[in-house]
Symmetry: D2
Subunit: 368 residues, 4 copies
Amino acid sequence: MSVLQCFTHRITMSSPCDLTGLEALFDDGVLRPQEIVAVLGKTEGNGCVNDFSRGYAVTSLRAVLAARLGESPTATQHIPMVMSGGVEGCLSPHLLVFSVRQATVAAGPPALAIGVTGTRRFEPWEIGRAAQIEATAEAVRRAMHDARIAGADDVHLVQVKCPLLTQQKIAAALAQGRDTVTEETYVSMGFSRGASALGVALALGEVGAAQVTEATVCRDHSKWSARASVSAGNELDHCEIIVLGNSRAWAGPDRIAHAVMQDGIDVEALYRVLDTLGLDACRQVSAAARGRIRAVIAKAEASRSGRIRGARHIMWDDSDINPTRHARAMVGGVLAGILGSTELFVSGGAEHQGPEGGGPVAVIAARD
Amino acid sequence: MSVLQCFTHRITMSSPCDLTGLEALFDDGVLRPQEIVAVLGKTEGNGCVNDFSRGYAVTSLRAVLAARLGESPTATQHIPMVMSGGVEGCLSPHLLVFSVRQATVAAGPPALAIGVTGTRRFEPWEIGRAAQIEATAEAVRRAMHDARIAGADDVHLVQVKCPLLTQQKIAAALAQGRDTVTEETYVSMGFSRGASALGVALALGEVGAAQVTEATVCRDHSKWSARASVSAGNELDHCEIIVLGNSRAWAGPDRIAHAVMQDGIDVEALYRVLDTLGLDACRQVSAAARGRIRAVIAKAEASRSGRIRGARHIMWDDSDINPTRHARAMVGGVLAGILGSTELFVSGGAEHQGPEGGGPVAVIAARD
Amino acid sequence: MSVLQCFTHRITMSSPCDLTGLEALFDDGVLRPQEIVAVLGKTEGNGCVNDFSRGYAVTSLRAVLAARLGESPTATQHIPMVMSGGVEGCLSPHLLVFSVRQATVAAGPPALAIGVTGTRRFEPWEIGRAAQIEATAEAVRRAMHDARIAGADDVHLVQVKCPLLTQQKIAAALAQGRDTVTEETYVSMGFSRGASALGVALALGEVGAAQVTEATVCRDHSKWSARASVSAGNELDHCEIIVLGNSRAWAGPDRIAHAVMQDGIDVEALYRVLDTLGLDACRQVSAAARGRIRAVIAKAEASRSGRIRGARHIMWDDSDINPTRHARAMVGGVLAGILGSTELFVSGGAEHQGPEGGGPVAVIAARD
Amino acid sequence: MSVLQCFTHRITMSSPCDLTGLEALFDDGVLRPQEIVAVLGKTEGNGCVNDFSRGYAVTSLRAVLAARLGESPTATQHIPMVMSGGVEGCLSPHLLVFSVRQATVAAGPPALAIGVTGTRRFEPWEIGRAAQIEATAEAVRRAMHDARIAGADDVHLVQVKCPLLTQQKIAAALAQGRDTVTEETYVSMGFSRGASALGVALALGEVGAAQVTEATVCRDHSKWSARASVSAGNELDHCEIIVLGNSRAWAGPDRIAHAVMQDGIDVEALYRVLDTLGLDACRQVSAAARGRIRAVIAKAEASRSGRIRGARHIMWDDSDINPTRHARAMVGGVLAGILGSTELFVSGGAEHQGPEGGGPVAVIAARD
């Protein structure tokens, strides 16, 4: 029977324009350029407004891919490349390249499935508002369908890259007599991530349409998705969406599971994901288990309460380091301690992605 | 029999000058001002050259203590107050106040013992050099003797606060025709910490006198102490030293143990310390075990190799956030994940304090 | 005839707790402790939320002053001490100590006059809102009256120190079912400065009461004071106010003048102030003129438009350095180039203090 | 007579990859792609080790230029593109594109002349040392000759882009048993800039060969070039060199002049340059004069003494913002105040480029 297989390639990077690892996979025949359907990457900028490491990595990636395909870089625009800036603390810059291949293999248990899509471009005044919520929800449903994922329960991660407001976009809106959701560029990243996450929650049935309005974004933190992971960047004007789940229509070597960290130090959530994947662990995972892990994707968030289990943190009061940078460093340490590995896709800003101060953690691993 | 008891009080802080928690202990009679022998504190500055949260906390502490004792702040100068700046990520600002009380209790197993002392003032050109190594070693030996700790094996932590070079001290040295170990103020913090740690290693017999010279400091990373924890600050010109160990001459409720993290994500070291203290844990420690933990003291270090278990980190290449800040955030996350608690005394800059990129971790806990 | 004289002492600082310069003035008899009525200071923190250099300097100042006066530090609470953090670029940390003395001298032309006062404490939900505007306006009128300044035209600077919202204050408000003007601590500094400045504008008749409402704050930038200079800090809960002007009821050696910089590089405003004071200059001021200048007080602001004279700046798009830090460095350079001096009280955040992107500049100089 | 003409195009940028301004010049026929000989640019990164805005801009520039020329990006490698990161304070991101055209015009007074060249690649252990000094001096002499500049007196600016040490280069050197000039990546930028500047000084006869050795670099600050302007970046392994001067062999519309700022606030140096160019000014330059100015290139440096004209600055004691960032903001403000313009190529790190704490300032302007 002809089925689809999704492969996850984790590739180390020595700078935002270093693609020698990717080129080596091409050269070795492990990966064919035309099989790539989506790329996630942790790059070494500040992860905030003026993080050009993201755009630089995408530009470099599209140039390499185009050269391999014998096409122009713009011909690769349908492949989402979601770069998340910020590798604070122990985190290590890397790419997660997802490829899909047709194969003739026996039917088996549910395997990793992927669907990718994008929304339309948003005007500056739509960012962080209802238009973004709705367009995102619609796109997620479309991606699930394309990926032949049976139901929302089989979705374990929806990765979204969304736009932010720059000073220029805000000025452009004002010039047209429109107001924007905020006039602070850094703050706009939170609104955009929040609206995207609520769109995911809507599509997955985690919240009802009646429960979510524009006023919910970044205000009512009781509404959230357990499977949304959203990054904002200044290098795009629309949302790019990658849905990951398990499906019997797929037959690759891996599967995915997720859980929700209730706060930034909730290691029990990670252990539950490992249990689900048959990677049982006490203390740090064994080398054998570590060898089966393909990718770890998690959200980090500085709790708005200013507290973690009652104890004060200063992430929101530090005017030298942005709270998302603190939060990624924290969660990176928490996860790396258990996993014994630092190539973790931990992205900041978990508005409506898990409970306030917490966030989803998903692991892709080879089946035992 | 009349014996000594050492008590460890962990007190939360809402700012560097917030001592309401300490005042409450005084008011409740839990702690008597005249019993305080040493204070450690994590304060919320950047932990680097221009971190005034440390001096502010010490000034505030001495004022409160002096008022309680009916003396002038300078009359409290014999009490070392080692503030370590930097509570990145999940870390929480707090004080560890050590008090000693004479008691008539039955002799028991070895209990937490403490000895405190200081070195002479160092000239700018002595900082980070042989004079600092030697004076520190001599002071550590003196503190061990005072604390009636039988041997070096019974010492589990030597906390040192040491000076750094400011632009003014460097200029003063130049004006006297003397050169300093470095002309970079931030870099001087590493040299000063390194010289102090080698002094501790010498005193504890972890390295031989023949093995350590001035040229060892921040160059030969194979020489280190498993029990030194050193912070540098711009608020003092000498070293303050606190030796913590276990001794049969003491009879307080707690004891201390330590282990060495081989790198920043080595959670097995922490689990070994917990095992030693009878706080056995798999995954996150239980609430019962957490309730018995009085203090956690650890060092954090960004490995100079630029790698952790082979994977690249960017802590030394980030010109926006100093590597010590990244490292504290990382180790804070690693330890907090296991302990379920964020009031951890994690200090940065582990030169010669454990192996390159790693560092000691010590826990004080109530006996079972 | 017995008249009042106001003296301005500019004192260099080597750290936030360095008061050797002040002590020397006391020792030399140049300044008597009981004559001090107000202190302004530039301290070397980040000038943002977690800048403890301000509180540290005030604590140190009150301790020194109390010791000289033989009183407790709290007995000096009536003396406003307005520390403005942030000495970016060439700026130099220093104090401006204002003292008042009764003298029997001949009546002369208008001389520097000073009035000081404070508002009541504000609740967290009042910060940045109407209550703060009104209380500030009332206090400014009171200070003008106390200073015997004839009319609003004779006022050349109103320095205000106002509170900000910390994460704890925001949480306290929420706990009482009240919302705050913002939930971002850094953003709250702008609202608090803006409300204070509008209060000054109201008191000086620069805007009418009908023109200013709560909604004006940080939204309608066409309403501003040409003479307000406001700093926010986490070390107080009310506003401290210092009014400086010229008055025939005073007979000290100095007078004050001001002008408004239309943008951050408007040096012509400074030249106009120098002209008014008889310190005519072309290019850099002469050493003789420089010797007559006692104090320079200016506001710095990153224009919200993201442009200066049509050219883009990145002050609002930089997530590593806050815009107020960029702005102080810019205006510090602009003024220091003309004045040939770097002990300038340039404070950031000029919301409603001059036109958008600009701000007042005032100079106190000896009469020729 | 057929002579050469050099044109200077100043182009604003809205991001490191924004080349719409350059494209417009191409489209308008003002500039032909094949005429471009060198590009200088101020980009909006941190100007330090992990500033990817520089490499991103160069990659984007080469892609645009290659597309226009119908070649591959690597075919543009002979065109030096010197990006200097950091537009702190009022500075505005922009490109300075130099083009050369053959023309048949009457001989006239000396006009702007340009010569461009590069050195060989340097090994990690050569950076900041004698090999770099010598190779740079040799390249500068070659560029002068190529530019038909009669003598060293006619050279007014030598712009150099040089490499720095990353953690990876340092590790590579160690792996080959070689040591590097420093093991701090940020510190290496200073050594590399210093060695380059000394190479320029040697080529221009500002210092004698006997006076300059490896030990001079970043140690003996009495040796310097009045015309070197050097930036370090992580995107190249060799030095790129652009020599600018005046020559009778050229007949373009502009000429260049320079002077040396003795410290960061020495505006008189700028006024002298303006005088030389017939752009006489008192206070801020007139709009007419401003219209004639094509480019302003200056170096900024935080004085190592920690003082400017006796007053303390904190640029070297601030662990949150690197001193080069402070210094650019300062000098940007100083120059912008006089010039009324913020598109200024102010680059940081003036080691051996002018006296300690000062640096060269050069202006290219249309002849009157």
